[in-house]
Every structure is written in C-alpha cells, then in structure tokens.
C-alpha cells in the first residue's frame, strides 16, 4: 500500500507545538497557570488529567483557539496569531463524534472538508483533493464507507472519518482532543493501534488528550499530566511508578471524582 509521509522542509527544526509559560482564564477561573510544553517532531504525547483540569484548554491554547493572558503559544516556531499554514496541523476536536445524525453529508464529503485548509478561500476542491481524501480514508480503513451518510455510522467508524479528515490535509502533526469518547473499547483499541502505526511508520507527530490514562500509557511515548499546571511530564511507566493518578493529583482531587 502506497502511503504518504508528512512533507517537511529540511530546514524546519522548530518544534511543531509549543506553549511557553501560558496562562488561560475563563469566567474568573485560572484554568491554566504558567504552563510550558514543547512537542518535537516525531513525538507521541498523551495529555491526561481530571475533568476541568485544563487538558482541552491546553490544546485549544496551543492551537490559538482560546486567548492566553500570559506567555505565548507557537506552531512550528511561529506565534499562533501569525500562523497561517493550517494544512500542517490536523485537528480532531472534542465531540467531533457527536454529529447530528441527520446531517446530510457522506463520509467522503466530511473527509474532503479536511482539504479546505490546504486549498484556501474561494478555490474549488478538485481531483487532487478527492484523491487525497480517498487516500486518507484508505489509510484509516474506511474507504468502503465513503458514500455512507455520516449519521448512520457507528461511533468508532465516525471517529475514523474525523481522523481521515485530519489526515487528508497531509499534516505534519495530529492533535486529537478526547478522540475515544463514545467509542466502544474494541474500536478504541483499534484506534490507538492506528495512531501508533501513523507515528511509528509515517513519523507523524501526535498530541492526544484523553482521560483514559491506562490505555494511553500503553501506546504513547511521553505522558503529560495536567491539573491547571503540569504535574508530570515523562515516560508513562514512570507515571505509574510514582503512584500515577493518586499521587499526582493528591492535593487537587475533586470531590467524588477519582480516576479516569
């Protein structure tokens, strides 16, 4: 099977994703307090933490979707406000799976949307874009679903559609926010294996937010635990060794919420 490896300029040494001492405030709450994180090319990073601890916010700040009150977020070395090479970043937002089941769109039409960033405003999507979309669907194993309406697919199949959409842009980094919510355990396993394959065989940089610490520890190379600040950043096995969840969130545990 012919596969595409992300294109990269040989002079590009800036880390794909970097947040430099950032703070984010929502409705008077300090969601992120001086958070620093650098993701290098080829890394497979998992971000975990309790609900409301700022994991999704961290992703959104890194992508420039929410404003920061201190520090700077950078993509490929450029401050997010000045970053316009949207095709280099493949983003799968949270609740992407929760599409209105009656929305009239086929899987292929959704995956094709992934090409908009590369094509730009006012340009029509052409044969090259369709080929890229179909190719992405093949890589992800859902080519047979292209004419199916998105609402008729299972949670796992829909998740793959959104992954294919992110891949269709031929990005250099994939950023996924809670991609396995609403996906059954078997499909979840297959999904992680797919990400592992993309990282290992195609050198795709991957940043993944999940509350599913256990599953994540088995597949990522680096685990970052967030609870308004970074409480852990290292190898998954060291996280377990240091007492994992309990120890890291000892002082900040929310009442009633223990574990994933």
């Amino acid at each position: 099977m012919h596969v595409r490896t992300p294109r990269r300029s040989p002079h590009d040494t800036a880390p794909p994703v970097e947040v430099d001492d950032i703070c984010v405030r929502y409705n008077g709450v300090q969601v992120l307090d001086h958070v620093g994180l650098k993701v290098d090319h080829g890394e497979f990073v998992g971000i975990v933490g309790p609900n409301g601890a700022g994991k999704s916010t961290l992703l959104k700040a890194a992508l420039g979707l929410v404003p920061t009150t201190c520090g700077e977020a950078r993509l490929f070395g450029k401050p997010v406000g000045k970053f316009h090479e949207f095709e280099r970043v493949g983003y799968v937002p949270q609740h992407a799976v929760h599409v209105d089941t009656r929305f009239p769109a086929t899987a292929l039409e959704v995956v094709l949307l992934g090409r908009v960033g590369r094509r730009g405003l006012l340009r029509r999507l052409g044969a090259e874009d369709r080929a890229a979309a179909r190719h992405a669907m093949e890589e992800v194993g859902i080519a047979h679903l292209s004419e199916r309406r998105i609402g008729t697919l299972s949670g796992g199949e829909r998740q793959r559609v959104f992954l294919a959409k992110a891949l269709a842009a031929e990005p250099e980094v994939l950023i996924l926010d809670e991609p396995t919510t609403g996906v059954d355990p078997r499909a979840r396993e297959g999904f992680y294996r797919l990400l592992d394959h993309l990282n290992h065989d195609h050198h795709m940089t991957i940043v993944l937010v999940s509350h599913d610490t256990q599953a994540l520890s088995l597949v990522v190379h680096r685990l970052v635990a967030v609870n308004h600040t970074i409480v852990f950043d290292g190898a998954p096995q060291d996280f377990e060794a240091k007492g994992g969840y309990g120890a890291a969130y000892d002082l900040h545990m929310h009442h009633g919420e223990v574990g994933p």
């Binding site: 992508l63 979707l65 316009h84 949207f86 970043v89 983003y91 937002p93 992407a96 009656r102 929305f103 009239p104 769109a105 086929t106 039409e109 959704v110 949307l113 992934g114 908009v116 960033g117 094509r119 730009g120 405003l121 006012l122 029509r124 999507l125 004419e147 199916r148 309406r149 609402g151 008729t152 842009a169």
Partner: protein
C-alpha cells in the same frame, strides 16, 4: 385560453415566471443552510422586518423594494449581532425584531391612507402583476446571490457543519456568517416579492425540509431542494393562472403538498439500508 397559452403569448408573464424560478432556486439552496443552522424562523422574521421598509417606501414614494432590502439587511445584521454578543438567543432576537418591523410597517400604513392595493401585493405577493423594473431587479439579485452560493459552497458547508474546525482551517468564519446573514436577508426580500411577505418560508424552508427527508449527501440535498423549489413555483404559478388563485398561496401550498407527499411515500416504503 389555458394558463400555458397565456404564458406562451405574453412576454411579461414569461419574465415574471423566470424571475420567480431564479428566486425559488436561490431560496431552496440557501434554505438548506438556513434549516441546518436552526434559523428556520429567520425567513419569516426578516420578511416582517422588510415590511417596515416596504411601508416606508410606499409612504415616502421611494422604490419600496430597495427600502425593503435595506430594512431586511439591517434587521438581519442586528439579529446576528444580538446572537454573537449573546444578548439574547437567536429565536428571541428574531421575535423581537420582527415585532418591531411589523409594528413600524403598520404604523406607517395607518398614518397614510390609500395604500391598499400596493401593500396587499407586498403582503401576499402578486407575481403576475409585478412591474418590469421589479422583475429585472429580482432576477439580477437572484443571479448574483446564486453565484455567491456556488463560489462559496465549500466554505458555507464547512461553517454550517462545524464552525470551530472551519475556523481552524483558516476560514474567516465571522465574515462568512455576516455574508450569509446578509444574503439570507436579500433573498427573503426578493422571495417576498414572489410569494408575499407572509409566505416567504414556502420558498426558504419547505423545499429544504423536503430535501432533508431524503437523507442523502449534501450535494444531493442541495439539488433536490432546488428541484423541489422550482417544481413548487412551476406548478403553483400554473395553478394560480389557470384557476385564478392567489399566486403566493398557490406556490406555498404546492411546496407543502410536495413535502407531505415525500413524507408519506417515505413512510410507505420499507426502510432501505442507508
């Protein structure tokens, strides 16, 4: 002389029908986005707001269609701003403004007598008596807006599907939303000319709702919506001319009948695998 003979003979009727078809195609296509964004009441709302513009035009002796356009676009942008700044919810904003618009129109009308006929043609539509100038204006606006829809097809689809993802792909979402709102306003005004202020939803919402019943791809949905809108106008206008019925109502009832037909046929057929 049958209705068809009439249309074949009189050029002004042919022009009026062509303008109506252009408007139907435009509203049917736009309507798909409107319905999917949950803005179905917007059509009605903006039509009522445009009524204030029409009344003002008639009272001042200015071209009513132009003032209707200004009122509708202004109203749409105010609704858009109220939603964006989260002052009130979308449907509330629509409700407030359409009351204001209609009331303004009524006030203006009540202060000047003798507007009966002209006003009635705006309220209920009187396509076949539309003057040449209005036909040309309506046709031109419909053509321009259709062009915009075609050019911005993928952008509008993306924004309607997932605004956040659209923003992240670099699309100017704010501007696209404003443009969409203004285009909807302009479409409503010209639709009102065809079916009247009160029945604008017949062209904007009903064909789209019918197409959505088919549960197909986005492309297919747009195509079916346009086909349904065109059919509604053709059949409705023919029936109105043939049996001396009010044009607007005839078109609206045809559109509704088509919707009912599709729903009934869908229920009757065994469920096919999607």
């Amino acid at each position: 002389m049958t209705a068809i003979d009439l249309f074949l003979q009189y050029e002004f009727l042919q022009r009026a029908l062509l303008a109506a078809l252009a408007v139907a195609a435009l509203c049917a296509a736009l309507g798909v986005y409107v319905v999917l964004r949950g803005l179905s009441m917007l059509g009605d709302g903006l039509a009522h707001i445009s009524f204030a513009g029409v009344a003002l035009g008639l009272v001042l002796g200015l071209y009513p269609l132009a003032l209707a356009l200004i009122a509708a676009v202004a109203g749409a942008l105010i609704i858009h701003a109220l939603r964006a700044k989260e002052v009130v919810r979308g449907d509330t904003a629509i409700g407030i403004l359409f009351t204001a618009g209609l009331a303004t129109g009524i006030l203006l009308v009540s202060r000047s007598r003798g507007l009966g006929v002209d006003l009635s043609s705006y309220l209920f539509g009187n396509l076949l008596a539309v003057g040449a100038r209005d036909v040309a204006t309506v046709g031109a606006i419909a053509g321009a807006l259709l062009l915009i829809l075609v050019v911005l097809h993928k952008e509008l689809f993306y924004v309607t599907f997932n605004e956040e993802a659209a923003r992240l792909s670099g699309l100017p979402v704010g501007m696209l939303n404003v443009l969409f709102t203004a285009a909807t306003a302009a479409s409503i005004v010209i639709a009102a000319r065809v079916v009247g202020v009160l029945l604008v939803s017949a062209l904007l919402v009903v064909p789209a709702a019918t197409a959505l019943q088919f549960e197909r791809s986005f492309r297919a949905t747009l195509a079916i919506s346009v086909a349904t809108g065109l059919a509604s106008v053709l059949i409705g206008v023919w029936a109105a001319a043939e049996y001396s019925l009010a044009t607007g109502a005839s078109v609206a009832l045809t559109a509704t009948a088509l919707f009912a037909l599709v729903v009934l046929v869908k229920r009757a057929l065994p469920r096919a695998a999607a």
